[in-house]
Every structure is written in C-alpha cells, then in structure tokens.
Symmetry: D3
C-alpha cells in the first residue's frame, strides 16, 4: 500500500462489502472518472466467502483484475466477514482511518436501503458515520492522522430494490463507448459470479434505461447523502427530460 | 418587448405569481446569475391587486425597479388575476409560447406545495406543464414558433412551508457580499410590502441558515423538477456537511 | 359499438390519453390477458393531434391496428383534445357511463404522477373518480344504466418517471415469448411514433429489468389504487426476491 | 421436533418475539390457512419473561395451547431474552437454519416499524435478513443444510402504530365465522395477558374495521416485503373499495 | 341566518360536502365542543342528490335534525351540486365570505386525500384556500367584510382510506358516555344512509380503536393543516402510548 | 444526586449525547419551562472527549454552568464514550432505570434522523426504547423501582438536517426576551465550542425563522414521538399561519 495517487487530483474512494459490489453498482462511474485522469481507490470489506459461487482466493483475484481494468487501486480489509457484518462503531473508526490516509474528496458507498444483502446497508451506514468520525479532532484512535472533511458522499445501488426512495438521484453520463466497454469487461472479470447469474445484463439494462430517461446512451444513478452546493444554476445544465 | 437577451448566453426565465414572489423566493439566485453576465427575464402573472397592501400601479413600479436592480428584464401578463388563478391548460399554452419566444435554458417557478398562497402552487403546475407543451410539435396554438426543450426547471419556495419534502434541494451559493446587498435592495424595492411585514428578515434568515449548513455565508435552496445529469462526480464537489 | 365481450369473462377496460399510451404503458399485460381468453376494451381520449409526429388519421389507424394485434376492441372519445385535457367532473361522468356500459371487473389507467405528459395524470384522476361515480345511484346523467362497482383499478406508467412512489407495485409476469412478440408488434404498429424515438427499446428494457428482479423473463409493474384483498396467503406466492 | 409437516403443502412459518405476538398480530390468518389444510409452524423467541403479567412457565403453556387451537406446531428458541433482543447477525444465521430445516414458502414476521416494543422491529429485521442468508450457498455455519429460497415474507402489525406506512397492505379475508371464533379462542388462551388489558377487543376492532373497508366481515392487513408477482390481473380480483 | 353565536367563545366552523359528512367524519368532536359550551356552525355544500339512497328533501331534514342533536347551527349552500364539485376559486371566495361572516377560530374540513368521494378532497382544498383568501385585504369580492385570520384548520377523515399519511394526527378524547351517545344519535338521524350501509359501526369502530391506542374509551383523529404552536410542553401532556 | 425535584410538578427529563446538545437543540424550551416553575433534569451521556475542541474537564464544567443558568439539575453517565455510542439494550435499561428514578412526565431526546453525529440518532433510539422498558413490570434489572409510564417523548434537532421529515412538528413559543437571553447565555457557557464555530448564530437563526413562521419572536420545533391526545380542539389554538 504505497502510492495511491496517480494524479494531483483529489482521489475518489469507493467502498464495497464484497469483491464485486463496486463494479456492479457503479463501475461505469469509476471508469468515467479514471478515464478523465482521476485517481480511484477501492476498499473491499470481505472476500465474498459466504457467496454461493467462487472461492475467496478466486474472488480476490477477480477483484484485483477488475480494479486494474477500471484503473483503480484496491485493498482488502477485515471487518466481520461476508454476511456477518455488524454496524459497529469500531468499524466506522477503521474506515475513518482509511479516509484520513487516502484523503479523498468524494466517497462512494452502498445505499442504506435495508431490503438488500444485509452487508450492503450496514456498510453504507458505517461509511456514512466514518465520514463524520474522520472530521472529529479528539478521537484518540485516530490521533496520528489529521482530520479530513470530504466533499460529498454518494450512494450506489447494486439492484433496483436498493435505490433510495427518499433522495433525488443524480445521473452520471457514461455514454462514451469506451467507458461502457471497460465497465463491461470489469464486470466480466468477476467470472465466478457472472457465470451463475445475469448480473451484467441487469446492470447494463439499468444503465441503458437511465440513459433513455436522459436522452443519452447510458447513465448510472447515484444518490447524494447531502444536498449539493452549486456556484450557479448553470453549473449543471442537464436533466432527465426526454420522455 | 424587444431585445431580451443581454448576452449570448442562454437566458434564465423566472415566473412569479405576484410582483414580489421571485425576489423573495430566489432574488439572490437571480443577482448571482446576472452578476456573472447571464441574461434573466421575469414574467409576472398579476399586479398583486388582491393583496392587503399596495395598489396595482405601485406594485408594478416596485417590480420594475426591483428587476432593474437585479439586472433582469420584466414583463407582465394577464391570467386570471391575483388570488384568482386556476391551473388551466390555456394558461400553460400561453406560458409555453413565452418559453418558445425567450428560449431559455433554465426556468424558475414557485414550488408545487399546496399549503401556501393558492396562486403559487398553481403557477408552479402551469409552468411545469408549459415546459412540456413547449416541446410538442403539433400544438396548433403554438404553430408559429419552433418547439423548445429547456434544460432544467427549478422550483423556489417563498416560505419555509413551501419547500417540497419529496425533492432533495440544491443550494446555490450567494455568499458574495455584493450579491446579498443587491438582493436586499431588490426586496426593499417592494416597499409597499416590506413596510407591513418582515419579509426581508425572513428571507435573509433562511439564506443565512442555508449558508450555515454549507459552511458559507448565504445560500438559497432550489428544488429541481428532474434529476440532474452530470458529466462527472467532480462537476459538483460541494455539499452541506458542516454540522 | 356493438358486441364488446368476446367471452363470458368480466372484461378488462383500459383508458389511454393518446393512441399509443396503453400499448407503451401496459401492452404486454393486455396481450397476456387476451391470450388467456379474456376480453379487453380500449377507450382512447384523443387522436394525438398535438404530438410532434403523425397525423390524427394516421394515429387512429395505428391504434386500431395495434388493438387488433392485442386482441382488444377499441373506441375513441372526445374530451378536450390532445394536450388540452382538464380534470373536469363532466369527463368523469362520461367515463362513468362507459364503465356502466362495458361493466368491467378490472380497469387500467395512466398513473397519477404529475411529472409526465399533463394529459396522463389528469386522465388517471378522471378515471379514478369515474369508478366512484359509476357506483352512485342518484347521478341523474347516468340514470339510464344501473350502477357498476369495479373490482380493482390498476395504474400503468408510460415512463420510469411516471411510476408512483407511494404505492407498492405488483409485477405481472409476461414472460411467454408469444406475449412479448405480440406486444412488440403492437408497439411497432404505432409507426409514426417509433420511427422518431426509441420507445420500444425503452419499454422492453423496463420489462426486462422487472423480469430480472423477479427471476423471470419479462414483467410489467402495475400500481393498485386500493389494497388487494386475498382469500389466502397462498393465492399469490411469488415475489421479487432474486437479487 | 420431528414431523412438522401435516400435509404435502409447502408450510407457513411464523416468528414471534413473545409467546402471544403471532396470535395478536395475525392469528386469524393462521387459522384461515390451517383450516384450508396448510401446515403452520411457530418459532417463539422468548418466554415473555420481562412482561408485567404471567410467568415464563405460564406463558409457555398458553402459547402451546394457543398454537394447538390454531392447528400450528410450535417451538421456542433462545436469543437474548425478552426485552433484550439485539439485531445480531448470529441470530439471523440461527433463524436461517430454521428456514432451511422447515423449508417454508411463506414467512410471517413482526413489522419493522421501530415505534413499538423494541423486540418486535428487531425480530422483523432479523427474519428479513435470515431469509437472505438462507439462500447463500457459502455460509459455513449452515453448511449441513441446502439453501432455501422462500416465496414471500409478510409482516404483521401487533398494533395500529406498528403498521408500516411505506408498504401498501394486502388484506386477508378471515370472515368465515369459524375462523374468527378459533382466532378469538387462541387469543383468549393467553389468559395472563388478556386478563390485564383489552388486547382481544383491540385486535377484533382492527379486523372488523379492515373488513368494513373491504365490504366483508373481518380482514387482517399484512405487508409484503417484496412486490407481488402475478400470473394475471385476474389472479386477485378483490380490493378495498366499499366506502 | 341571524344569530349564529350562542356564546362569547370564538365559534367552530365545520364544512361538509354532503349532509352527513361532518357527522360521520367528526361528529363526536362537535358534540364534545358544544357540550363544553362552544358554538358550532355547519356549512353543507350539497343536498346529497347524487347518492344512492334518500331524496334531497329527506337528507336536508336529516342534516338539520342531526345538527340540532349536536347543538350546532346549520346552513346549506350551492356550489356545483353533489358529485359535481370542482375546486374553483369562485367557490373558495364564497367560503372565504362565510369565514369572514362567522369569524371562527377553528375550522374543520374533509381531508385532502384524493382516493375517496371526489367531492371530499375538493372541498378540503377549497376550504384550505378559503382560509387564506379570508385574510387578504384587497380581494374585491370580499370588500364588505373585514379580513379574518383563523387559528387552525383541522381535517377530518370520513373513512380510514381518507386519513392523510403525511400529517401526524392529534386525537381528540370523546370518551364521556354522553358524547358518544349524542354522536351516535346524530349519525342515526341520517336514517336514509344508515339503513343501507353500516356507517355507524364503521365510525364507532374507528373511534374505539383510537381510544384503545390512547388508553381511553373513544377518540377521533384529526389532522392539523399547520404545525401547532404551544406555550409550553405541558400544554398537552397526553399521547398514544398504551400498546 | 439527591433531591431532583424543585417543585411539585412532574419534572421534565432531557437526554444529551454530548455536554452541549440539549442547550443547542432545545435550550430555549428548557428555559421556558423552568421559568414557569417546572423542574428539569439533564442526563449527559459523554464528556465530549472526541470533539475537536475542549477537554472533558472543561466541557463538564461548561455543561454544569449552562444547566445552572437554565435552572436544571444535571448528571453525567457513562455509556460507550463520545463518538463510540452503540444502540445497546443494556444502555436502554440503564436509561429506563433513570426514568423510573426521576419519574418524569415529559422526555426530550435527540431526533432519530441518522444523517447527523452518529451518537445523536443512537441516543434517540435508546431513549425511545427506554421509555417502553421503564413500563414493563417483569424486567429483572429494574426490579427495585416501580414501572413508570411517561406522558410524551419529544425529539429535538441539533441542526436543520436532523429535523425528522415524517413527524409533524409542534412549535414551542419562547418569545419572552428573558427566555431568549437565558438560552443565549446557556449556549455561550459552552465557550470551548462556540469559540470555534457559529453554533449560537445557527440556533438563534433557526428559532427566529420558526418564530417568523408563527408570527411571534422565537420558537423551537419539537417532534412528538406519538400522536398528541387533546381534551378539546380549543386546547391548542395557535398554529403557523403567518405567511
């Protein structure tokens, strides 16, 4: 774990409960950012050892290959293990330490909707709390690294069911063909998973549908934890107004 | 009604049910945009003739003076009269014709929350529908002008009660002192109104509170009708994360 | 307008604001029911004369052809005209008279979500009210026909944006290949529309995505106006639990 | 704990935090299903030892008697004890093991609404997560039994306050007099509880009110965790449309 | 229509779309207030002429008898007729004139939930807007009477379905036996209606259920249009905390 | 910790996660009640040791000084420590014991909204559950003190973000100048905190804004956990109806 930053830009930090969650939930967004020269770093919180398909070793390899395809660095951490995650403060402190080390501007985490794989919503909550703990100056476990305030936390949804109903989404345009191609390859790199179920088709159908809503080719919906602050109304001048 | 555009930028179009609604609801946002060189045009749908204070003539003059202070052009139209507005299709077609004439990128309209002055929510609905009618090619009343698709419709809230609870707000940073000054002058120009009630204090308190949420001086919350579409996560890298 | 019923089953009655709304919003559901031998009848409330593409005559022909492909009968009625619909009581009484004549068990209408083509939400509200007026015995305009209480009103959504967020959907399984084929042909029959925009792809992507949620090929989400009443928990023993 | 199944039908599995929760929350539904010949099994997660009335021994006896009246088998398990339940993953794994053993089609659990007895919402969340864990092939604690995917999870509400506001209910018709009688007897069997408070009247009033909504004698509202999937619109042709 | 006020207290003003709506929706609350010596006045906006049972003449007589039992004065006004009500501004102005004449502190109106008899939600909206128009000083139709600001507008729900889900209810304790008796008599006075359907049982079941929630005999839920303002936390020291 | 009660009135009990939460979230309400002669007692669940500013010793002193200014007694308890709080049942039992000892009528706790300092929402949930445990007669840890049922639990919000969106607020009028003065002094007593950030301005702006909504000077919004039960509609005859 040495040099994470590949550019001078403030990096993007994405958390996944399992080796493939980031790719299926928002891999196209990652590809879009790294393609534009920004650094991205993945933190994976289990080896997927409770899943029906793939061994921990296979899944680790798949995740590394996939992150490389997306141009992201990757690390694995131990919390409670796959399907055993609890929303403990100790975990939030651990993630806060990573935030202080990586010093990202933007974070990505699984959504808080509870009706999905239990680890997803719990990790989302742990990350949300970690972004606050990373800011508090008196936390003795984190004394060695200076506090870090991030700019924004976005949630991704691995399935339609996991999309929050109480936050207005923002859609990220990932229409450039090379982005969709890289994303598809990154998903396909999780071969133990995609062999068994049609995850790739699910995600591309979701992205295509979001693209049709916006009159573009493909888009991924993300859900900001806090209201966006804009310099001007003209800072974002596109919306979903096609049908 | 000749030259509306003061610059080559796609103009901003704001609708108000009464002569002072735009100023009280989002005048700081207008000042912020015209200060940056963008054109803004106001369409006022009554002379405030049912209000407790001020004559129609006074209120028209106040609105003109206020628009000039904000750097906006202004026109008055007749719908059903103050406190008499109905959400008729004929009105939406009338506003759609204005949209086709002005050809704005961004629209501002009062929010759809019904628990406020009845004209506000109705005008919001008329504007929302007008943005669609402006796009439909076969509408015979609008045959003379080519269809126009806007980029985004934002709602403003004249009071706290009028803030929608089902749309995540975006906050527009209006912290530059000259912006707040111009906005305050524009509100004060409605002297028949501000003499009777503490509207200016209300709006500045709201803007200060939004500013405190975002760690800046002042901000105004707007509510996008449709999800924003971004090129990149880094297109908007600020959020309300201060407390 | 003679014999509507093709079988002894209580018929299905579907309302559309424009000649293609039923097909795009829930055509697969119609095909599924007529394929099972149930009668379906369409009531179309405009000729699409305000749309960008197609003449009223063309669109009428397209709708007739499409209804025939789906095995449904069809009639056109005049309300206020395309893009001019108002939610008048007189219209609800007119539709209530149709309900009393057709005597359906189940109704389909566009959803009440207002952020879509203005005619859609208004027609949905008119139909909802009409189902009540059809039941009231003292309505003098309807004196000639006996009151009729329907069993259920389902809303369909022509776009993702039009899906209600405050009603839990039910998914109708339309996975049989012949159903999807017939539905696709029926949408394609609206050739003036599908030439200009990728409506068919939009609807098939939505249906495929719903199918993936449920572990089946294709499904269409409908939104019941009133809680379902079941004889037993085992009456419906399938749900979306695949991802 | 030997032969649970009394018929060839896929059994119904109901979880209760306390000895009387299933009966008060949805006993009429149980009676309705067992009366139709389906097997039902209860899992009770405490002896009610923190309650104001009744000893653990009494309450165990009451629950056994009540289950017998309803035609259900019953077992007691130890989690954290009455009023001490925590939503631990270890508990979800324990319940997942029961799901794999009983292999039910339909599950009943207390609702997730937090403003009720704390054990209820926590048990609801544990059961919801357990239904997912029961499906995951790699969970080493459950290695001995094959994965099991259920058809549907319904929540019951022990009080009006516990009814979810974000899920559309389905109403189960329990109007047959023998069903209401059996249910009433089953509630009365919890004599230590009903002596102190008017629980029976509360539940019958709720069921009668739901019946009146649907134009029938009595009904119980349940809340599906996931959207229902139907073969046809005509699969459920009744709704609450009486007033 | 001469002396409405029977006491020096600021009167209560209740609006009903049909001759029996106030009684079924909140008659117990009326009885509770008049019993305490407060004046109540009813404004009925149709003769129920579209209903299945009862002639306009019968229903007028029933309403008069029922109001007398409740200790309220009553007047009938003409809007659009039963089942024909539209939410017109002209109606709101008409009701605002009544508000200025009666000068009430508290208003009661049917809830805004649209999935009920169409006249109910429309009347609720008309009343809500009328309370604002009654305050505006420049409205020329109302020039003769001085503006009147009410203290609070409460909505009542004629059925369970009509209870708003986005407003927290307040429960009014109507447990005194004489109150329930008077209320029951007032409902029974609508003999043309109660002969045909079990309305009285419906309302008493709802009130009993609300009473059980609060640990009292009977209560009626009302829904305040605007947040309550209290002098002290101890001004209302009871809540629903019994189960 | 001897004589808590200063009057014969049932006391008010307020819980804070950190030494300054009660003051910033609802200090004006406390001042308002003690000014009227009611007893108030604070329970503080950490020494703020994870905060950026102030030592635990300083913060303890500040809290004591502030409570004294507000006329409240204060005690500190140990749960998991600042920024380490978990929503454990053991904590709820500990707080239930305090409730049984203090025997309050009204409780104040931080809101349940999760997007704030993690300790706040967790403490809110612990208090909510504690109010139920305090009532259960069989809880062996609490055997020594008789059960206690409170009248109402109100939530306070330390920031705008922490205001619940699913509960209608009640506004407490704190307009008397001496109340605002005392409150301001009590906030200022937390000098380690207010030196670093503009908390006092934030809270006064919020209270002023709520005051403007209600046409009074200052008000604080609280959120009742359970519906209020009123003797009469006239028990609370004020609402926010000024703009």
């Amino acid at each position: 774990m040495k040099p994470i930053l590949k550019s001078k830009l403030v990096p993007l930090l994405a958390f996944g409960a399992h080796p493939d969650d980031i790719e299926f939930g928002c891999g196209g967004v990652i590809a879009n950012e790294t393609h534009a020269g920004r650094a991205a770093h993945f933190v994976i919180c289990s080896r997927g050892e409770a899943g029906t398909h793939g061994t921990p070793r296979q899944r680790t390899e798949e995740a590394k290959k996939s992150a490389a395809l997306l141009g992201a660095t990757i690390e694995f951490i131990e919390l409670d293990g796959d399907a055993h995650l609890e929303a403990r403060v100790a975990h939030a402190i651990k993630l806060a330490a990573i935030i202080r080390r990586v010093r990202p501007g933007i974070l990505l985490a699984p959504s808080l909707v509870e009706n999905q794989h239990p680890d997803h919503a719990k990790l989302g909550r742990i990350v949300r709390d970690a972004t606050r703990l990373a800011r508090y100056g008196g936390l003795k476990e984190l004394r060695k690294s200076p506090p870090q305030a991030i700019d924004q936390l976005f949630y991704y949804a691995v399935t339609t069911e996991a999309e929050p109903r109480d936050i207005s989404p923002v859609l990220i345009d990932i229409s450039a063909p090379e982005i969709v191609d890289v994303w598809t390859s990154a998903m396909a790199a999780h071969s133990s998973q995609v062999r068994a179920r049609n995850y790739i088709e699910l995600q591309l159908a979701r992205a295509r549908l979001n693209g049709l809503r916006a009159g573009i080719d493909h888009a991924i919906a993300l859900f900001p934890n806090d209201p966006l602050v804009l310099e001007s109304l003209f800072q974002t001048n596109r919306s979903t107004r096609k049908f």
